[in-house]
């Protein structure tokens, strides 16, 4: 069969479809977005009517996927690493309920923070929840692991995590498909208690989960994705997890590696294989594209159990993604002389697009706030975070989805006036609504600006769950009608915008301002597709 040229994300999506999923759930987030986008465009997904709409946030996505699993069908849920924080409640509890139909929780991490607020390693969550995890090292494994993971999930009646990193999510290579499987039939769980986590039942479920751990370790030991490659020189053994294995092998393209290598792509850690390499070798080098999870486990708290080199002792940098050169250095290879970047090369940070509606919103906000000292604007996650950069310098915080509204409230509670929250329409429906309810219930003195450009723009223009209903949602939460103000952020409306901002800053209570104009990227895309 002809190979398909697919991004890692797309390879996994094709694998999940071919393995017979009935639903894909998720919230857009770099680098995970392309999984659901691929399914949305896929003919097989259309033909089978596989669920493929975006969810309001990662928590609703995770719970909905769990509901589909309850009903006996196969499902995947996708998110970026920080999305798993949002979905942590259902994810951790799903280890107790277990799955009925196969369920894959696919999380794309972003080491080096190419497009993220932090670089947490999702494998810690899998270990914490006592759930198995798969870590593909190439596009073919990403495809194959969708099939394998769903089988594993149904075999042990547990959700399985698939952990991606940016460099695999967004890298293309040839992928061969397997046979296309039929969808599962509807089938309720045999055990009527399975999904009822009352304490008495949960205590039993926990023991069941603990009892499965030994079997999960055995699965890892026999996994086709974990390999022990022997080598003569036992002075050093190398453990390489997921993508780190590629960077390791890149250093041995023209020669053989004389050291034993253990490639780990399935967790829990394959205990016997790790025992073997640590008994045979004097020192271990642990390579992980993320946090030192395996390294820490091997080293132990006191660090005297084994001779282990890796991120913790500085052999590999403590933060950031790995690359072939950082691994070469860890192996002690001679560094080649490299050309330097000339000093004149200036950084080119991302910026708001020409004619972006946020530009007009920020220019007016800056003017309305010009009589106050700086430091009153709490912002959120989206394109408008770029309002921090010159020439706008309009915002003072960016923490997590929804934190603009709640941090503005907290600051207002402390006596800060004015306290302004800036949030996008998609981020508002993701995690802003509950925070605004808190504001309304206490009549907090805040001005919340909900920038409505119709889409989640930073991730490529996915439909926002608001669907233009921001005002109705705010009314329903109890924001006073006369303090919900809709404006059109255009240069020619600048004076009007400033006036509306000033009026609402003067009001002692909850104000919501909705600057509404379509994202210029989405508009251009719409016009292009209209022409074709």
């Amino acid at each position: 069969m002809k190979k398909l040229l697919l991004l890692g994300d797309e390879a996994f999506a094709q694998g999940a479809l071919d393995a017979g999923i009935s639903g894909a759930y998720g919230y857009p987030g770099t680098p995970s977005t392309e999984i659901i986008e691929y399914i949305q465009k896929n003919p097989l997904a259309k033909e089978r009517n596989v669920h493929r709409e975006w969810s309001a946030n990662e928590k609703t996505a995770m719970e909905t996927a769990l509901g589909m699993s309850y009903a006996g069908k196969r499902a995947i849920v996708t998110m970026k690493h920080v999305g798993l924080n949002v979905a942590a409640d259902p994810y951790v509890n799903s280890a107790f309920t277990g799955a009925n139909g196969g369920l894959l929780v696919t999380v794309a991490d972003d080491p080096s923070m190419h497009s993220s607020q932090n670089e947490q390693d999702s494998r810690f969550f899998a270990k914490f929840a006592l759930l198995p995890a798969l870590e593909p090292s190439n596009q073919q494994e990403a495809y194959d692991m969708a099939h394998y993971g769903l089988e594993l999930s149904e075999k042990y009646a547990l959700p399985v995590m698939i952990r991606f990193v940016t460099r695999l999510s967004h890298s293309r290579s040839g992928v061969a498909r397997q046979e296309v499987k039929a969808e599962n039939a509807l089938k309720l769980p045999e055990d009527k208690n399975q999904f009822v986590l009352l304490p008495a039942i949960a205590r039993r479920k926990f023991k069941t989960l603990l009892a499965k751990q030994a079997d999960l370790e055995k699965e890892s030991e026999n996994s086709p994705f974990n390999q022990y490659i022997d080598g003569k020189d036992k002075s050093l053994g190398i453990i390489a997890c997921g993508l780190a294995h590629n960077y390791l092998m890149e250093n041995f393209t023209d020669k053989e590696c004389s050291h034993p290598i253990l490639k780990i792509s399935q967790y829990p850690i394959p205990r016997k294989m790790v025992e073997k390499i640590s008994m045979e070798c004097d020192t271990l080098l642990v390579l992980e594209d993320g946090a030192p999870l395996v390294e820490e486990m091997l080293k132990g708290y006191l660090g005297n159990a084994l001779k282990v080199k890796g991120r913790l002792d500085g052999t590999v940098p403590r933060d950031g993604e790995l690359n072939p050169n950082s691994v070469a250095k860890a192996l002690g290879f001679k560094e080649t002389e490299l050309l330097e970047i000339p000093e004149i090369v200036a950084p080119r940070p991302p910026a708001l697009c020409v004619a972006c509606p946020h530009i007009d919103s920020y220019n007016a906000l800056n003017e309305a706030l010009s009589t106050y000292e700086k430091g009153h604007v709490f912002a959120d996650i989206g394109c408008y975070t770029l309002g921090f950069l010159p020439p706008y310098q309009a915002i003072n915080s960016c923490v997590d989805m929804g934190a603009s509204i709640t941090m503005a409230k907290g600051a207002a509670d402390a006596g800060l006036y004015p306290a302004v929250g800036v949030i996008g329409d998609s981020t508002f429906t993701h995690s802003g609504i509950t925070g605004l309810l808190d504001c309304v219930n206490e009549k907090s003195n805040v001005v919340i600006i909900i920038l409505d450009n119709h889409v989640a723009a930073m991730t490529g223009g996915q439909e926002s769950s608001a669907f233009g209903r921001i005002e109705q949602i705010c009314l329903g939460l109890g924001v006073e009608r006369e303090h919900i103000r809709t404006v059109v952020p255009l240069k020619k409306n600048h004076e009007e915008l400033v006036k509306v901002y000033r009026e609402e800053l003067a009001y002692n209570g909850v104000s919501v301002i909705v600057p509404r104009r379509e994202c210029v990227q989405t508009m251009a895309k719409r016009n292009r597709s209209g022409r074709e």
């Binding site: 190419h114 695999l168 967004h170 890298s171 000339p342």
Partner: protein
Amino acid sequence: MKLDIILAGVGGQGILSIAAIIGTAALKNGYYLKQAEVHGMSQRGGDVQSHLRISDKPIHSDLIPMGECDMILSVEPMESLRYLPYLSNKGWVVTNSKPFINIPNYPELDSVLAEIKKLKNNICINADDIAKEMGAARSMNMVMLGAAAASMDIKVEDLQDAIKEIFERKGEKIVEMNLNAFKKGLEFSKANK
């Protein structure tokens, strides 16, 4: 056969269409391919790059090791310099000389071009002007691909076939325009190499 190319530019300049054509030509020859792209925040006017790796043997890393890149193909002059640590001592820098200025502290163009000229193997071409002269401003990328083709271990005919394949659905006129742009770039390189 091993060909590692870093494609460089600014978000929105469309470096991925160049990658798609080289990739298509490589696959026709039965080569292995890996191509790492930048999606997300940087696409909003920031610096972007794609690592394109082609080989007759299986490829491990999605990223090109520093010091081993065979070519930096940049559609913007300053961006061609940002990735120099990746370039091998035999590698080529093929770049557009037309700057894309969206930052206040963009350096003097002359000093940027002087840095490029210092490099052992460089081709610096005003692809924007060449494309505009042809009345095909949007084919700047194909002028750049043509300019690079002279120093690339892939047959010119295969690249031309790939251009036909990629642009086919847009009609014969667009295919012709892009092939001509490619030819102009190739001719420039042959004359100035």
